[in-house]
Amino acid sequence: MLKYIIRRLAMLIPVLLGVSLITFSLIHLIPGDPARSMLGEKASQQQLELLREEMGLNDPFIVQYGRFLGHIAQGDLGTSIQKKEDIASQLMEKLPATMELAIFAMILAVIIGVLAGVVAAIKQYSWFDNLSMTGALFGVSLPIFWLGLMMIWLFSVKFNILPPSGRLTAGVELNSITNFYLLDSILTGNWTAFKDAFSHLLMPGVALATIPMAIIARMTRSSMLEVMRQDYIRTANAKGLKKGLVVFQHALKNAFLPVLTVIGLQFGLLMGGAVLTETIFSWPGVGRYVYLAVLGRDYPIVQSAILVIAVIFVLVNLLTDLLYKYIDPRIKYN
């Protein structure tokens, strides 16, 4: 198994090379000039030229790419163009926000999605099945930016019960330890902050959870339906085992493998920063950071951030693959 993990980690290298090459090429294909977007329309040609030279934008593509790889190899994610900040420390500051949101959304999506899927499967063609699967269809199809804006309108503007953006209300004190606000407030026993952070997390969390939740529900349902038709389930039922035991112990465990794959993929995606959700709810995470960087044509941020996101994605998926073994002990890693 150790070998397997090492092999998988070694595979990261070509994956990252590929990702970096694609990002690097794409970002150079987007029209726009970082020097121009930084200096604005009032800069002279000379000033633009000077800045381009300083940023190395005049070098051939391959030289720029080589330089970028060289820095990455030394563990240097670079400095942003506009604010001249260390990108690594900026990402570090923003990752906890993104992870907190992703984990919360994922917990929500898994609990509701799996439960809905299971119930829909054992009560196939019932009103619940129809309702939840139609709901799931809506869930995957609703554009998040629309859903997000509607939620803000309803819960913040109309009823004024939830804060529209950010992670914490100005004025609420919280000592950061991990920068996961919920965790920090529990660790310090600060329940005012916990309540406040939770109310901030609720809307973006639900908005972000809709798509994975819908996918998980549909996946669970179809996988469960297949398993429920197997002989051993019939046997278990015939033996007179309790229905709950059959469903959750015998069926779900076997049906869970494909669901787990989906969960892993979705979680990986969310950990990379939910650009739309973070932008609409002004959630100071990685997604919004990348979004603002794209707008400002801040190439180094986009390149480095996507690379880090890719690493996280691959690691999350590796973790998922390893979890298979818990669910299905027959799986061997060789």
């Binding site: 198994m1 029209p31 726009g32 000039d33 121009r36 977007s37 930084m38 200096l39 604005g40 009032k42 800069a43 002279s44 040609q45 000379q46 000033q47 000077l50 800045l51 994610l77 506009q82 604010k83 260390d86 420390s89 900026q90 570090m92 500051e93 990752l95 930016f145 804006l149 309108w153 913040s156 503007v157 004024n160 804060p163 529209p164 953006s165 950010g166 992670r167 914490l168 100005a170 609420v172 004190e173 919280l174 950061s176 920068n179 606000y181 932008t279 609409i280 709810f281 002004s282 100071p284 979004y291 707008l295 044509r297 880090v308 996280i312 690691l315 999350v316 590796l318 973790l319 073994k325």
Partner: protein, 541 residues
């Protein structure tokens, strides 16, 4: 076996965390992330905090190195300039300097400075500090506005400012290489805010994250991409701020920002969607604040290109073929039709110029006279995103397309993002192109010379994208630059506008009043035509 797997899983999870942690190779980040809580904002009872919502973060807080509004709107709170604009227009009044005079030849400007001013870091403000700042701006191309306003080049980084001397503890004298009438208005620009030399030396490269000036607000904290917090300067030499704190909050999405205003989590916002104006006006808790216009939106016609656009008659015909009153309805109530290149709020505006009347028949006749009775094809380059002076570029372009079709001119619209658009138009790729301008210093020179003089019609770096080259206009504008008498200058600019009207290198489209929206409890918010205003007079009730 199971135990082993568990350990391995734990190891993987840890490595994941490690990757995250590995990103922080900077020990300083811990401190920063500690500050990440918005908790450090104000909020304790009785404190007055104004939260200003905007679409983008500031780039740097060193005003000499930026030109973007989101940076300058913050720095204007922190820094003072030698002289400043009136709250409502661009007339100049004392600030760090109490009085000033200019020599007869217009080359020597002397400013008497206040002797009771301290920088936020506690150091005294003297004439030497003014010298230090100006000499710093003369050292490199990164000082964008200095280079741009004073004509610095690579070989002459000083531009027209030959010498800056402290001629007393509280007196500073500028020697210019040539007379420059707009000089006083120029040094009032917030980009020329005087910074603490000690802080610049102390922070070096990092200074732009630790701004220290003399202004009504003191910099407190900057959480990048999130918010900037300033607090009141109790020892301000001018009118001490009524607010205790100001928070600039970045909310990229216009719609989301507006909802925050509605829900009361922010107090003022810029970048209001024009279609939301009605909602604001119908809301008892909100108000619209219209910024006086100091801009112009126009369609430049490339006079340099061989073909119809080089012909004055064609350009005049296009001016007649466009129904401006109808066009202006597309500005959703924030625009006023333009007939001159400068906005009416500026002195020197020539109201006697009579705009071309909408008359498609006459336009057709004029086109026939020019030999284009059957019409022709032209390109119209436009930018895709709305800008302050043009809320709906695409729709506006389509309307013009329709109108010109009636006189047999086939317009092909070429749409691109802002950077690409600037690049293309500066290089003269267009037949016709949309562009606009927001004034910097409230001087007509800053519109007419920058946008229409032959000096600025250089391929590749053009402000004058009509590539209009008129010697007559050039003489007028040059004369106005060295004339110190404002009335005489005003006459020169009025003549210049007549000339531009006759030669018609542009179709002037509109002057807009970009709207801000605010909570009604915000009082005394006086938006300045230049686009930025200090908040020391603003109050919350």
């Amino acid at each position: 076996m199971k135990k082993k797997t568990g350990l391995l899983l734990l190891a993987i999870f840890c490595s994941l965390l490690f990757v995250v942690a590995a990103c922080s190779n900077d020990t300083g980040s811990k401190k920063d992330s500690g500050k990440n809580t918005e908790a450090e904002g104000s909020g304790s009872s009785g404190e007055k905090t104004l939260v200003f919502g905007r679409g983008a973060d500031s780039i740097q807080l060193d005003p000499s190195k930026v030109t973007d509004g989101e940076s300058l709107n913050v720095t204007i709170q922190i820094y003072d300039t030698l002289v400043k604009y009136n709250p409502e227009d661009t007339e100049v009044q004392p600030s760090l300097a109490t009085e000033w005079n200019v020599s007869d030849d217009g080359k020597k400007w002397t400013f008497k400075l206040r002797d009771d001013v301290k920088f936020h870091d506690g150091t005294d403000f003297t004439a030497e500090d003014v010298v230090y700042n100006f000499e710093r701006w003369q050292t490199g191309a990164e000082f964008i506005y200095y280079g741009y306003m004073f004509g610095a080049t690579e070989d002459n980084l000083k531009g027209i400012v030959d010498k800056v001397e402290a001629t007393g503890d509280y007196e500073v004298t500028f020697t210019l290489s040539e007379p420059n009438a707009p000089f006083l208005n120029t040094v009032a620009m917030s980009a020329f805010g005087i910074a603490s030399p000690e802080a610049i030396e102390k922070y070096g490269e990092d200074y732009s994250k630790h701004p220290v000036g003399t202004g009504p607000f003191v910099f407190e904290e900057w959480v990048p991409d999130d918010q900037i917090t300033l607090k009141k300067n109790e020892d301000y030499f001018g009118e001490v701020a009524k607010l205790d704190k100001v928070v600039f909050k970045t909310i990229p999405d216009n719609g989301a920002r507006f909802m925050e205003l509605q829900s009361g989590t922010i107090d003022v916002m810029n970048g209001l969607n024009p279609q939301d104006i009605q909602t604001v006006e119908g809301d008892d808790n909100l108000q619209i604040i219209r910024r006086p216009s100091m801009n112009v939106a126009y369609m430049a016609m490339n006079t340099d290109k061989e073909g119809p656009m080089a012909d004055k008659k064609v350009r005049q015909a296009i001016n007649m073929a466009v129904d401006k009153e109808q066009l202006i309805t597309l500005f959703e109530g924030v625009g006023k039709a333009a007939k001159n290149p400068i906005p009416p709020s500026l002195w020197g505006y020539n109201d006697d110029v009579e705009d071309y009347k909408y008359d498609p028949d006459k336009a057709k006749a004029l086109l026939a006279e020019a030999g284009y009775a059957d019409g022709f094809d032209v390109s119209l380059y436009i930018f895709s995103n709305p800008r302050d002076y043009m809320p709906q570029p695409k729709v506006t372009a389509q309307a013009i397309q329709e109108m010109l079709k009636k006189v047999n001119i086939n317009v092909k619209i070429v749409e691109s993002d802002w950077d690409t658009h600037l690049e293309a138009t500066e290089n003269g790729k267009h037949d016709m192109a949309f562009l606009g301008w927001t004034g910097d210093n409230g001087d007509p020179d800053n519109f007419l010379y920058v946008l229409l003089d032959k000096d600025n019609a250089k391929m590749g770096s053009a402000g004058n994208i009509a590539f209009y080259k008129s010697d007559e206009l050039h003489d007028l504008l040059k004369q106005a630059q060295v004339e110190m008498d404002q009335e005489k200058r005003s006459d020169l600019y009025k003549k210049a506008q007549e000339l531009v009207h006759e030669d018609a290198p542009w179709l002037p489209i509109a002057h807009t009043t970009p709207p801000l929206a605010a909570n009604k409890k915000v009082k005394n918010y006086q938006p300045h035509p230049t686009g930025g205003e200090a908040f020391n007079l603003v109050d919350i009730q």
